[in-house]
């Protein structure tokens, strides 16, 4: 009797058109890609210390920010990143657009595509949205968050922040606490940290830790005491808007906060606390911890700007289709 031959991944994928690169998932990146991006981000960081913060790098290029979900940090960060690189920027929010009239994502993409954007940055409540835009435009796609799937630039800026704060990522122990099940930030971070040699433990109530998450490169613990051992405690928000109603992931928020809330008593002095924002003070993170952590959280936001500049630049210059950009000026 013949062995059932395991199907190779390549046989299962539809034929891919490899004309251009996208950043849709951390899984798209190699370790070399990440190191290159972080190094670019550092270079951009230095250039931003100058009086005049604008670089001509992406002059004449068009970046469209397409946001179907609310956002403060990410949308402002991408907009400013593109502007600092002198690109022409269009920011479109779904509310107030024809999406209110029922226009599909595909048609929205085709409409935007008519302007020949070089990059489309998209945030959408549903997994797979960036792929639809990639199929219907010729732009490079950056995923700014698709449902509960991935938010790769968040993970990159978190790596950058940890790197700056602790002098490296390899060997660092990061505890990711909270609603991992519904968190695209968690998925991207687990993959990115594992890729760069960090040790990751996810902590939370059983129903909010996906079964099989270890395969992404982390350990699992249901006890909040575990976070004491970590170098960095990364706190996730309870993603109530993504939770099914009546699904009983936890009996109550009260019990969640009592068992898994990050409070001062559960931390070691000097332990680094990070949060992707927005925070629900008093739920997943104690108000005092949030205030003490504010400095690092503010650094995450600043990192976001230079990391996103690096991502925009890298997508257009590194890959099968190269787009002409002005050189980054060397900063003394």
């Amino acid at each position: 009797m013949a062995e059932v031959r395991p199907l190779l991944r390549d046989e299962l994928l539809p034929p891919r058109r490899l004309e251009r690169r996208h950043l849709i998932s951390i899984a798209d990146l190699t370790r070399e890609d990440v190191e290159r991006l972080l190094s670019l981000a550092r270079a951009f960081g230095r250039s931003l210390e100058r009086e005049v913060k604008k670089l001509p790098t992406l002059k004449g290029r068009t970046v469209v920010n397409l946001f179907f979900e609310s956002s403060t940090r990410t949308s402002s960060s991408f907009e400013l990143a593109a502007k600092r690189l002198s690109a022409d920027v269009m920011s479109i929010k779904s509310s107030g657009s024809a999406v209110d009239k029922g226009e599909s994502l595909k048609d929205t993409a085709i409409t935007i595509g008519a302007y020949d954007p070089d990059v489309v940055v998209i945030r959408h409540p549903h997994i797979g949205a960036p792929h639809v835009v990639a199929r219907w435009t010729k732009a490079h796609i950056v995923n700014a968050g698709d449902g509960t799937h991935q938010h790769p630039t968040q993970a990159l800026l978190d790596l950058y922040t940890i790197d700056e704060e602790l002098g490296g990522v390899s060997g660092v122990h990061v505890a990711i606490v909270g609603d991992v099940l519904h968190s695209r930030v968690a998925r991207s971070n687990i993959q990115a940290l594992a890729l760069m040699g960090a040790r990751v433990t996810v902590v939370g109530p059983p129903a909010l830790i996906p079964r099989g998450i270890e395969a992404l490169g982390c350990e699992v613990s249901y006890s909040i005491d575990t976070i004491r051992d970590a170098d960095v405690v990364y706190v996730l928000r309870m993603q109530r808007e993504r939770m099914l109603e009546g699904a009983n992931y936890v009996p109550s928020l009260r019990e969640y906060t009592a068992r898994w809330g990050v409070t001062p008593g559960r931390l070691r002095p000097g332990q680094k606390v990070m949060h992707p924002g927005p925070m629900n003070r008093g739920v997943e993170i104690d108000a005092a911890v949030a205030d003490a952590a504010d400095a690092l959280i503010e650094r995450q936001v600043r990192s976001g700007l230079v990391v996103r500049m690096a991502v925009l630049y890298d997508l257009l210059t590194h890959g099968p289709v190269e787009v002409k950009v002005a050189e980054i000026e060397e900063v003394a």
Binding site: V4, L7, L12, P14, L105, H126, A129, H131, R211, A215
Partner: protein, 426 residues
């Protein structure tokens, strides 16, 4: 019970062709003569055959014709035309239409249309419950008399064990097979794909195997208790196959079917986020796929059914999470099974041919197609070596939501004869 197909009876001669008929244990080179739609001669020949074979044509007991209500996706003519191109001489259509086929009046209207529009004989299942809402039984005896081929609430499970029990009791007098879609909604809720390592990685709500097997267990227990037969639709989990196997061993009259996609794919395929890989039940793990293949091999699962589910392009051209479940399958079923399972030696050609034809026919009390003198001609001529590419614009179905778009397959339907009439010639 089967309607349409326009009773034209053709003549044809297939010379020096390898005849493979698993129902009669034939595998030899013969010349087949059909006159007025009936096989009149089967003569042994000395000459070697071409690369072609002729086998009993296929029967698909699980097709969504989308009629009435969504004729933009498929109608009786296009669906039967697609079936003919896939080598099918008969198909059975599911009743989850708009309106649902839950009364003799609606069924009667559909039967009348089929008599005119169907290119091959087609049968219709009626719903188990009115509007498939799971609350009240349909008038099963009247529906059976009007020609219902069986009963199913497919698309949905029969959530109430009490209602299923009544349907089984009524089967004693209504007589037509009861086909069940096993899915415990509280467990499958919002599930987009199999719950496993891949869904953990991709972030999708998972639809665990236990959502299917819990109801399979329940339905088998009720069937055993009432002493009535049941047919389990589109099995996907190894636990379901195991439960079916044990029930059969214990004497329960239960049958099962599996789709070509569940035999060929696993949840790994969903990584591409292509909505043409979104089905209900979802693609599961390699262990599940192996168990389904073994179930086909040892006969626990008697039928391969496509669950052909056409969807409009604009409905599938959306993010995975938004897309409806289902893929088409009539035109590629044999080719993909030949390419992925027969050629690599995983299943024998005879087994696949049997599960595509006699197996499904017997479940619904239809005469299994066979190649014998005096039998009506229900034949499919297959070229086992021809390769072809699955192209978006070449489907006869109105819909192109196939998981095989762009793939190259080996094995082609060259000619189909349904109830004595040539319905397809490549």
């Amino acid at each position: 019970m089967l309607f349409g197909g326009n009773g034209r009876k053709d003549d044809l001669v297939l010379e020096c062709i390898r005849v493979v008929d698993p129902t009669q244990g034939i595998d030899e080179v013969l010349t087949v003569t059909v006159e007025q739609g009936v096989i009149t001669r089967l003569e042994p020949t000395a000459t070697t055959a071409s690369g072609r074979i002729v086998a009993p044509a296929f029967v698909d007991p699980h097709v969504h014709l989308r009629t009435p209500g969504r004729e933009d996706e498929e109608d009786i003519a296009s669906g039967t035309r697609a079936a003919a191109a896939g080598g099918y001489c008969a198909i059975l259509a599911m009743p989850n239409t708009d309106p649902v086929i839950d009364s003799a009046a609606v069924l009667g209207a559909l039967v009348e249309r089929a008599e005119v529009e169907a290119e091959i004989p087609v049968g219709f299942l009626a719903a188990i419950s009115k509007r498939q809402e799971g609350a009240e039984l349909t008038e099963m005896i009247e529906l059976a008399e009007r020609g219902a081929a069986g009963f199913s609430d497919d698309g949905r499970p029969v959530v109430s064990a009490g209602l299923l029990r009544r349907a089984l009791q009524y089967h004693e007098v209504a007589g037509r097979p009861i086909a069940l879609h096993c899915e415990e909604p509280a467990l499958s809720r919002s599930g987009q794909m199999h719950e496993g390592i891949i869904s953990a990685e991709l972030g999708f709500h998972g639809y665990p195997s236990v959502a299917e097997s819990v109801m399979v267990g329940r339905d088998l227990a009720l069937a055993a208790h009432e002493g009535q037969p049941i047919h389990l639709l589109h099995l996907s989990a190894r636990e379901s196959v195991e439960a079916l196997h044990q029930a059969q061993a214990a004497g329960v009259a239960a049958t099962g079917e599996v789709t070509p996609h569940h035999l060929c794919l696993t949840d790994e395929a969903v990584r591409s986020l292509d909505p043409n890989l979104k089905m209900n039940p979802p693609l599961r793990s390699e262990e599940d796929r192996k168990a389904l293949i073994e179930g086909i091999r040892d006969g626990t699962i008697a039928a391969i059914a496509t669950d052909h589910a056409p969807h409009a392009g604009y409905e599938k051209d959306v993010p995975f999470e938004e897309a409806p479940f289902g893929v088409t399958g009539l035109e590629t079923a044999f080719a993909v099974l030949n390419t992925r399972l027969v050629e690599p030696g995983i299943l024998s050609l005879a087994t696949v041919l049997e599960r595509l034809s006699a197996g499904p026919a017997r479940i619904y009390g239809l005469e299994p197609p066979r190649i014998a003198v005096g039998a009506p001609a229900n034949l499919v001529v297959l070229d086992l070596e021809a390769t072809w590419c699955v192209a978006h614009d070449e489907f006869r179905s109105r819909s192109a939501n196939s998981w095989l778009l762009g793939s190259t397959l080996t094995g082609k339907v060259v000619q189909t004869v349904a109830d004595g009439k040539i319905v397809f010639a490549a």
